[in-house]
């Protein structure tokens, strides 16, 4: 998950944003609706105002026109009265009309052609105001001439025809300056109802545009008047006045809407209309007819100006809303920040918990709300975590203890294996080296050896399976080997007894392959029994003749499978410089990365001649490691090398005596031993000890080798080289191995001490070694005593 800053929105920010958006939307809708109402109100008000203004304008116009009409009508009777009077009267009347009404700029009495024959065909006395003179001067003239055939004029025709007053369409009077005029014509009828003249009053409409200007109540609003046919009577654009009508204008600016408007206006309607003014843009137009003249008055207002206040008010409202929203945002930020502050603290607390501090301080929450519930959940979580950590710790401690115990087991197991090499530094006849590389912490391989009575007992074995169970079985096998071999020199018997013990209650069906050998060190006689183990390799060196052969092995069952199995004994004699290489299948079955086995052939090739036992094992380890490379060791690898290196020492002294089995001959024996000790230059104490040891050994033979009453010989031979003195006691009696006797417990009390067994105990105490061999139907007991270093040797 990418956690970029722009992806991160705090809860406070999001909440604030939503609240502000909602409030803004509500305010906006309210403002828009309010504005609409305000605009509607404004429109209605403006309508009323425009209506009033229009009505005022109409009234004003009506007033003017009524005044003109009244002035005209008031003079009709006077004209009738003075028809027969001199024509000067007519001029006077017209002047009078002008005088009574300042609005009237000209007045004529146009008589029917030939009404006054003496005046000619046309007679029309006319008075008018002199526009050029400063003071209001009224001039008169006769209007009717041959070129001005007034009876054909509209202003004459219409009232004559209608027999009532008639307002002409406004027109531009070119005669007396450019002024807009309209003329009111009134028919004068005689008693018979015949029209004999038309009285006219010319009215200047200049005041109209002035009046219309006063209707302007907005900066940019304007008003205009159109006549019955749509001609502009007043307009903001003066050039339109009387020159253009609304329809031609609409056509010119190509505005159909304006055409429609024109039609509605001249049809005499009162209304309001929105339209697009060419100069004001969107505008409102109010119009009203002036019934007397058939005109239509209109006021045009710019919508912009119209709603100026509303727009301004809207703007102010918008600013207020904006400010309020800002204020709201500020308050929310503060408020929500305050409300969500515990969340930040909770986050920090969780981070702390994640970093291992389970007792992280939680933020204080006073409000009884979700925060409180969250806090309670946190407390529960902390307690639960603490509890679980505690449990985990206990489990780990237990696990650690088990692992520790396994390590102890491994140490115990290793301690059982011989580990001090060379094991017999003061012996020159044997060279032993052993090594074990366990596959798992605790292995199931074993090897062991020890020397008892000049015999090397050794074994190598492999327990089925691995790990703790295998190591337990291994420990049992090893201790059985030690215990049983202590009193039993025959390998096949030791193995048989081990087998019987281990086969009992062997519910797990674990078994041990074991090679057990007993090497008689003085003679090189090797007796062995192989219970299903790999045959050891024998390296013989006799000068240049070197040989690598497997020691021939009978096929026996492994130990522990079947109790009572008869194991077979095998025997050979090895020469000096012979090496025995023992191993477990961990060597031959060592695998490389491609699961190829090391095999016997590689093993045979790898093993070197003329090396000591440690060199051989080092070389083999090197070879097997080079072969397996990175591959994991799958099985225990155990190797044991035994080199027989007995040196033949020069015998420099030899003396023998033969006795028969009669204890009466003991003094002879004592004499003999005394002679030997003298030759060895022993001191009195050592001589006494030799005497004691030999006597005990010989008495043993005298007492036990031959049945009672049978006479037999006992031959005692003393031999000495530079190193040691050796007594060999041999007889032809029954097989009797004194070395298998139980050791004497010297700690027992007088009551518990047995009478017998002291002799052999004394021998082992007094001599350096005792060795029994049965050979050629003879019991041969060998006792050795190391000679003290001679002064000459010391000197060297």
């Amino acid at each position: 998950m990418k956690n970029r800053w722009w992806n991160y929105r705090s809860f406070a920010a999001r909440l604030s944003l939503w609240v502000i958006l909602t409030v803004a939307a509500i305010l906006l809708v309210t403002a828009v609706v309010a504005n609409l109402f305000v605009r509607d109100g404004i429109l209605r008000e403006e309508k009323l105002r425009a209506k009033g203004a229009l009505e005022n304008a109409e009234e004003h116009i009506e007033d003017v026109f009524i005044a003109v009409e009244t002035a005209v009508k008031n003079h009709t009777s006077e004209i009738k009265k003075n028809v027969q009077a001199p024509h000067e009267e007519m001029y006077r009347i017209t002047r009078e009309i002008l005088e009574t009404n300042p609005m009237i700029v000209g007045s004529a009495i146009a008589f029917e052609p030939n009404y006054y024959p003496e005046e000619g065909r046309y007679f029309s006395p006319y008075s008018y105001r002199d526009m050029e003179s400063k003071n209001d001067t009224i001039l008169s003239k006769q209007l009717g001439t041959a070129t001005y055939d007034y009876p054909t004029m509209e202003w004459y025709q219409e009232p004559k025809k209608l027999k009532r007053g008639y307002w002409s369409e406004p027109y531009c009077d070119t005669g007396g300056g450019e002024i807009t005029m309209t003329t009111y014509s009134y028919p004068l009828m005689d008693d018979k109802g015949q029209v004999f003249a038309v009285l006219t009053a010319d009215v200047s409409l200049d005041w109209l545009s002035q009046m219309m200007d006063s209707l302007k109540y907005y900066e940019q609003s304007y008003s205009f008047i159109i006549s019955r046919d749509g001609t502009f009577l007043t307009h903001l654009s003066k050039e339109l006045v009387l020159t253009e009508n609304i329809f031609s204008f609409a056509k010119r600016v190509n505005d159909a809407e304006l055409t429609e408007l024109g039609h509605e206006m001249i049809s005499g309607k009162t209304d309001m209309r929105q339209f697009k003014s060419p100069n004001l843009g969107r505008s409102f137009l109010f119009y009203k007819p002036i019934k007397r003249t058939g005109w239509s008055v209109a006021i045009v207002c710019s919508a912009e100006e119209f709603f100026h206040n509303a727009t301004q008010a809207g703007l102010i409202v918008a600013i207020i809303i904006l400010l309020m929203l800002l204020l709201l945002a500020f308050i929310l930020r503060k408020g929500v920040h305050h409300l969500t502050q515990p969340l930040v603290q909770f986050t920090n607390a969780v981070n702390e918990v994640a970093n291992g501090n389970l007792q992280a301080t939680l933020p204080k929450v006073k409000t009884k709300d979700e925060m409180m519930r969250l806090r309670n959940s946190f407390i529960t979580m902390q307690q639960s975590l603490t509890r679980q950590m505690e449990e985990l710790k206990q489990v780990n401690e237990q696990k650690g203890r088990i692992e520790g115990e396994l390590k102890v087991a491994s140490n115990i197991q290793r301690a059982m294996l011989p580990k001090i090499f060379p094991p017999y530094p003061d012996r020159d006849d044997i060279d032993i080296y052993g090594q074990q590389t366990p596959a798992k912490a605790v292995g199931g391989d074993l090897f062991d050896f020890y020397i008892r009575d000049e015999k090397l007992f050794f074994c190598i074995g492999d327990v089925s399976g691995k790990g703790v169970p295998a190591s337990l079985v291994m420990a049992v096998a090893r201790s059985l080997f030690r215990t049983l071999s202590m009193h039993e020199p025959h390998p096949e018997r030791i193995i048989s007894q081990m087998n019987d013990r281990m086969a009992e209650d062997n519910e797990l069906n674990m078994f041990v392959t074991l090679f057990l050998g007993v090497l008689d060190l003085p003679t090189g006689r090797l007796r062995y029994c192989n219970a299903g183990h790999n045959a050891p390799l024998l390296l013989t060196e006799n000068g240049n003749e070197k040989q690598k052969v497997f020691l021939p092995c009978d096929s026996n069952l492994p130990i522990g499978i079947m109790g009572g199995w008869k194991f077979t004994l095998q025997e050979t004699t090895i020469d000096v410089n012979t090496t025995l290489f023992l191993y477990t299948d961990g060597l031959t079955e060592a695998e490389d990365m491609n699961h190829q086995l090391f095999g016997e052939e590689r093993m045979i090739n790898a093993i070197p001649f003329s090396c000591n036992s440690q060199e051989i094992i080092n070389k083999m380890t090197e070879e097997v490691n080079a072969f397996t490379g990175e591959a994991e060791q799958s099985d225990d690898l155990t190797m044991l090398t035994i080199r027989y290196t007995k040196l033949q020492h020069l015998v420099r002294f030899q003396k023998e005596i033969t006795l028969n089995n009669n204890i009466e001959q003991i003094p002879q024996l004592a004499e003999y031993v005394e002679t030997v000790c003298e030759a060895m230059e022993f001191d009195a104490a050592t001589s006494m000890q030799m005497n004691l040891a030999i006597e005990e050994a010989v008495v043993n033979v005298m007492n036990y080798a031959y049945p009672k009453g049978v006479q037999g010989d006992i031959k005692i031979m003393a031999q000495a080289n530079d190193q040691r003195l050796k007594f060999t006691i041999s007889d032809n009696g029954m097989p009797f191995d004194p070395t298998t006797r139980q050791a004497v417990d010297t700690t027992l009390t007088a009551e518990e001490r047995p009478i017998g067994g002291l002799g052999i105990h004394l021998i082992t105490q007094l001599m350096d070694s005792i060795n029994y061999e049965r050979k050629d139907n003879k019991n041969i007991l060998t006792l050795r005593k190391k000679l003290p270093a001679t002064p000459s040797t010391v000197n060297e």
Binding site: E664, P667, L692, E696, V699, T746, A750, L762, Q765, L766
Partner: protein, 101 residues
């Protein structure tokens, strides 16, 4: 090898003189038998003149001890030389007897 039994200071003292080897052990056993049969006081085994002792001799010493102990009396060994004392040490007999110089 001669074995003499004397009564001294209310003690029974056995004097061993010579080599106590297996050849003479039968005779010595016979010689001490009267003492074993009639224990009436503490027994002192005087070894001042004892030159040699084999396991059969040690057995005689042990049989004397085994017979005296139940009577509540003591068996003391007197004037045992250094070499023989070593034999007693080897066999653990040094723990069984009380010694007097």
């Amino acid at each position: 090898m001669t074995t003499t039994i004397k009564e001294e200071n209310n003690n029974q003292v056995v004097y061993f003189d010579g080599r106590l080897d297996t050849a003479v052990s039968m005779q010595v056993q016979k010689d001490v038998q009267p003492l074993i049969d009639n224990i009436k006081s503490d027994v002192i085994l005087d070894c001042e003149k004892l030159q040699y002792i084999s396991s059969s001799g040690l057995r005689i010493f042990l049989s004397i001890l085994k017979n005296v102990k139940p009577t509540g009396h003591h068996v003391y060994i007197r004037s045992l030389n250094k070499d023989l004392r070593q034999v007693f040490t080897m066999t653990g007999f040094i723990n069984l007897f009380e010694f007097k110089d």
